[in-house]
Structure formats: structure tokens, C-alpha cells
Symmetry: C2
């Protein structure tokens, strides 16, 4: 479930997508419009699958972009759209379909998907970091989501990295990793620099301020723009510091970076690895791979399916 798109897929036990349907999320705020649509998509999907593929789905996994109570299938909070708090989405879909339905935070689902079917295959444990507009994450141990005691494990985006000089985060704290290294942080840092120094030689300086987004910073960096590269380098410095800290507590076998910003590839990864090497404990620094996620845009549906597969003991 995304802010702009609802995707439904039939995924097999090896993580392969057999069928995929996408529809725009109704613009109306709250759950009133999307839930009936979601139920219709799932019902139509079930029917289509039975008829065309001669398959019978056995369970439903749902990835939601916010904190959920996975044990009851209830949405706790929605950061991006209002009206979802307290919605028992798991139960709604279970009742609409008769199938067991499992609700999970999308970062946890994405991390589990990468662990079972993506960049983390074969690793016993991993730290997954999803860098998009914000920064989410997940901890996978022994092929299972480590949710923690308050369903807050893996929330590396709100680890405070620089409370002294860091910008204020959307959560209200100063210097969270999200405020330093997310897609929005890249855009904001560029706008600040352009405002402070009017004579910067950067392609970003030719854009209206409100068009200087993280995406534009990424595009400029890929064309070698020095301001954009500097901003990404600074974000990577903070990211490497945060990953080193998390590694010293959790010591995962590997770190997988997903989300839109991860599409920068080595532009982001090379300086992140350098910072990680400086800040992590030496024997661990040398032996903890930091890699880009493999599932890309399919992470959402494959991750949601992974949740259902694990919950049903099919993986």
C-alpha cells in the first residue's frame, strides 16, 4: 500500500511474482475509499488467479507505510495520510476473502523480502535500511523480522546522529538520520546551500527553489555536479556513522540499502562504505558487506508476501 498506488500481486513460495495489479490510491483522505478498493482488487485477483492460473492463494500479506500492530493486524499511526489509525486492515481483508491476512510495516516487509528473496539471501541476519522521502528500516534475525519489545526495532531513521548541529526532523527531534540523509534531507540541504551561497556553480542553481528535490540532487550528482556530490557525500558520512553504530549493537551479517535514494548506487554506497570503515570496529568493518537491495519496485509486494509465507510457516 503506497500513498499514490495500491499494488496487489500473486507471489509464489519462492518469491516470484506470478501476477501483478496496480491501481491509483483514491485521493480521498482516510481508509473509506481505499479499503473497498483493496478488497475488490484482492477479490478480483483471487477470481482471476483461479480462472487463469488454476492457482489458489493461501494467505494475504499487506505492507503498510507506518507503524502497525502485527499481532492484531491493526494500523497504529499513519504518517502520510489521515484516517487510518485504528483500522483493523488485517481483519477486514480476512473477512472479505476468507484467507489468513497479515499486516506488517512496509520497511519490515521489505527487509524480510530482501532477506528471503533479494540481496540478503543466505545471510542469517541483516539490517535493512530503506532510504526514500524518509528513512525506515528493519532487523532480520534467523529469517524472521525482529520487531523488538515495542514494534520499534529497525527504526534507524530516527536514531539521533547529530543533536548539536543537525536539522530538525519531521518527528520534532534534532539531528535524526532521516533529517540528515533521506531524499528530502538531500533536497533541503541543497536548497539551504543555494540560498546561502548565491554564486554556486551548480546545475541545481538554475532551478526554482521548490524544484530542488532529492531526486534532482541525485540526477545532478549522476552528471558530476560538484554541489550535488558534496551533499550526497555529507549524507553518506552520516549514514556510515549510523550504520557503524547500529552494527556495534546488532552485528548483522550484512546491511542492505533499499528505497529510491539507493538507486544512486555507488554514488551513495562508496562514500557510505568509507565512512562505515572509519567508524565501525575494525574486524567487523572489514567483514560486514553494505549492498544495494535487489527487489526494487517489487519490494513492496514481494515483502508483503514474504510476511505471509513466514507467518504460515511456508518459509
Amino acid at each position: 500500500m503506497g500513498n499514490t498506488r495500491l499494488s496487489t500481486a500473486l507471489v509464489d513460495a519462492d518469491g516470484h511474482i506470478l501476477q501483478l495489479w496496480r491501481e491509483a490510491t483514491p485521493a480521498q483522505q482516510g481508509a473509506d475509499a481505499p479499503i473497498p478498493l483493496l478488497e475488490r482488487m484482492v477479490a478480483e485477483g483471487q477470481e482471476h488467479i483461479r480462472r487463469e492460473c488454476n492457482q489458489t492463494p493461501v494467505a494475504i500479506g499487506i505492507g503498510f507505510g507506518g507503524p502497525v500492530d502485527h499481532s492484531t493486524g491493526v494500523i497504529r499511526r499513519s504518517h502520510h495520510t489521515q484516517g487510518w489509525e485504528g483500522v483493523a486492515l488485517g481483519k477486514e481483508l480476512h473477512e472479505a476473502t476468507g484467507l489468513p491476512a497479515f499486516l506488517e510495516n512496509d520497511a519490515n516487509a521489505g527487509g524480510l523480502g530482501e532477506a528471503l528473496f533479494g540481496a540478503g539471501q543466505g545471510a542469517d541476519s541483516l539490517l535493512y535500511v530503506n532510504i526514500g522521502t524518509g528513512i525506515g528500516g528493519a532487523v532480520i534475525i534467523g529469517g524472521r523480522i525482529h520487531r523488538g519489545a515495542h514494534s520499534n526495532a529497525g527504526e534507524i531513521g530516527h536514531v539521533v546522529i547529530d543533536p548539536w548541529r543537525g536539522p530538525v526532523c519531521t518527528c520534532g527531534k534534532r539531528g535524526c538520520l532521516e533529517a540528515l540523509a533521506s531524499g528530502s534531507a538531500l533536497g533541503k540541504a541543497a536548497r539551504r546551500r543555494l540560498q546561502e551561497e548565491s554564486s554556486l556553480d551548480s546545475s541545481l542553481a538554475t532551478l526554482p527553489a521548490n524544484e530542488v528535490t532529492g531526486t534532482k540532487v541525485g540526477e545532478a550528482a549522476q552528471e558530476g555536479d560538484s554541489l550535488a556530490l558534496e551533499i550526497i557525500g555529507q549524507a553518506a558520512e552520516y549514514l556510515g556513522l549510523a550504520l557503524a553504530g547500529a552494527t556495534n549493537v546488532l552485528d548483522p551479517e550484512m546491511i542492505v540499502i533499499g528505497g529510491g535514494v539507493s538507486e544512486l548506487g555507488d554514488l551513495l554506497l562508496a562514500p557510505t562504505r568509507q565512512a562505515f570503515q572509519r567508524y565501525a570496529t575494525p574486524p567487523v568493518a572489514a567483514n560486514t558487506a553494505i549492498v544495494i537491495a535487489q527487489l526494487g519496485y517489487d519490494a513492496g509486494v514481494i515483502g508483503a508476501a514474504a510476511v505471509a509465507l513466514v507467518e504460515c510457516d511456508l518459509r
Copy 2:
């Protein structure tokens, strides 16, 4: 196994010490003298237990102050004394006694001891932080030590907190938690302040510089010395920040603080909790208790016993 003392104890499956022997660690560097002494202590202990208590020990747990390979029982590095690297201490004691023998890092052993028999009883997961001369730690999940992929989990002492202005750590990095909030860091911070400001109104100013240790800072704070309280407050600020960061990744049910510096009790804990509240994610901040360890000086032997009990499936 401590730098100054070897302690051997008979501990029952409920974590109660039935017998305890202590001897000074031979001053000679390396393992040549301590190992025969340790073997003698264990053999004498076994004999004594059979005769006096009519008990038969079933396993040996050993806590060592440095990184170990728990699966082979081999010491990896010794930070404090030379000549221990590569010593197969588990095997040595197994061969000397005929009992299964399990070697573990002392912070891991201490954390497991607190989880099973101390402040963490009943908690499903905890982060244990041992603040003494240095800072060690452990992660306990589901009543087991979470060692991580490279036996480095729980090493919160070397999480880099302030690489910009923090002092250089014994590990060579700048701004590790250990360099900011350990016992030695307290002493060092006090000495620096006293050197920089000659007119400070503090009982510490009356001591020769080399006697201004972390212990003295603690004593002065307990008597209300404002410099000492300020230094502990600053250390607590960094500690709270580090705990909040670890909590956002791991989300333990509770945090247990042990080691000599934890004897400061609320002098350390109150400002640490305040900082933690500011830096941790709100719902988690409100529901994650930070408490002082309960096993005190017995943490070493009870923790080592806990390791053996868990390995033998007796807990």
C-alpha cells in the same frame, strides 16, 4: 576471570552461589601462571563440593574480559594483559576436569546473568551496558545471548557518538561512548577541566592530578561537588543518546546498567533517563525502563554459570 582476581563459584540452576573461592591473579603476564592456578581452583572446588556439599558440578562457565570465540572456547584478544591470544581456555578446563566448559566474553556473561537471575528477570529482551574502566555490553533476546554475525553485538562502548568534538578512545577512534562516559572518561574529563580552569571550586581541585580518577569524581558527586555533578551529567547526556540510538535499532524490553560506575545509582541514572527521553522515539522512550544491575560483584561468576546453564539447556 578478572585482571586482579580469579573467582570460582558453585552456582545452582537458580543462580544462587553455593560456594565461592577467590585468589589473586598471578602478576606474571600471560596465561602460563593463571591457567594452572585456575585448573587447581576448579579441581579443588570440585573435590570440596563433592565432600562438603554432596553435589556434583555438571558444567563450567568461564567469563573472560575480552573477545572470545564462544564456539571453540578460544580467546581472541586480551585488551588488558598480553599472552592470552589464541589460548583454548575452554578446552584446557574441559580436559582438566572432564566437564563441558564454555568460554564467554564477560559482558555477555554478565548480561545473561542479569537477564536470568538479576534486574532483567522476566524480560524477553534486554540491552546490558557495563560501565567500568571501559564500557562493554550485551544483547539478550529470548533468554539467549545475541552474539551477532561477528561476535560483536552489544559493543555499545565503541559506538561513535561525537566524532567531531569527542576525545580519542583507547581504540583509536574519536568520540566513542567509552571515551565519553566510562569511568576513565569521567576522570579524564575532570582532569581536563581542572587543568583548563585553575580557579574551580571543587574538592577535586585539592587532589594531585593523577589521583583525579573516575572513582574520585563519583565520590565527589555523591558529596554534591558541582564540577563532579556537571561531568557526570555530561557523560549521562552521551549515555542517554547512545541508549536511545541502540533502542531505535534493537528495541529491547529494558536496559540494564552494570559495572562500577553504575554504583552511582540515581546520580547517573536520573540524567541518563532525561537524555534518553529527549532522544528516543516517544512511545518507546516512555516504555523502556533503564535500571541498575542487581548482581553487583557476583555478576562475573553468576553470569559465567548462566552461560553454562543455557548451553547445557538447564535454563
